[in-house]
Symmetry: C2
Subunit: 116 residues, 2 copies
């Protein structure tokens, strides 16, 4: 018998989910998202703050836009980027706290206590 709370996902669903998570699977994209979590930035500001090339940033931003993670609006010459899906903050927060717990656990396991 299969659990009531989970079910097998279709190949279509698996592909959709994978493409979303793929948006988060690159350090540079995470950096861009992290910057945008501080507030709106123009593409140029993201280029400077990220330390990457303009072409790369533009490509990463296009992917983040296509997966619905961010939004972009033109303002004259510049393009302003912003977080468009609240799941960005949720996922990052969840993963960060999980990693922190894990690291603290490992650190505790490595702690040397002469009393033991």
């Amino acid at each position: 018998m299969v659990s009531e709370t989970t079910k097998l996902l279709s190949p279509l669903a698996l592909g959709l989910i994978a493409s979303r998570f793929k948006a988060f699977s690159e350090p540079m994209r995470l950096r861009l998202l992290n910057l945008l979590m501080q507030g709106e930035h123009t593409v140029g500001q993201l280029v400077e703050a990220s330390g990457s090339g303009q072409a790369n940033v533009s490509k990463h931003l296009a992917l983040l836009r296509d997966t619905g993670m961010i939004g972009m609006r033109k303002e004259g010459l510049t393009t302003v980027c912003y977080i468009a899906d609240p799941i960005v903050n949720e996922l990052c927060t969840m993963m960060c706290s999980r990693l922190r717990e894990e690291m603290e656990g490992k650190a505790a396991a490595l702690a040397f206590d002469p009393k033991i």
Copy 2:
């Protein structure tokens, strides 16, 4: 001024987070995780249920193990796999419901109502 609730992540943290999300960024790995969410499976069962080759499944499982998502224990000739990090269920649930909302929103936007 920067928000109190977010902060800029270090390159090290970005890499760790990215590698975790990468585990979820492949349809085949998601399928394996989805199968394991139903309960423990041996490698052989996963090979059969996933419809992929034995070598590929083994490689994907190794990655999932190395990122801490699953655990494996040897039982005689077979290797039993199981979800090791509760974040697997949380992330999948969150992403699935988010995608469902999104699709329902798009479907509603496309709905044709002759009264309007």
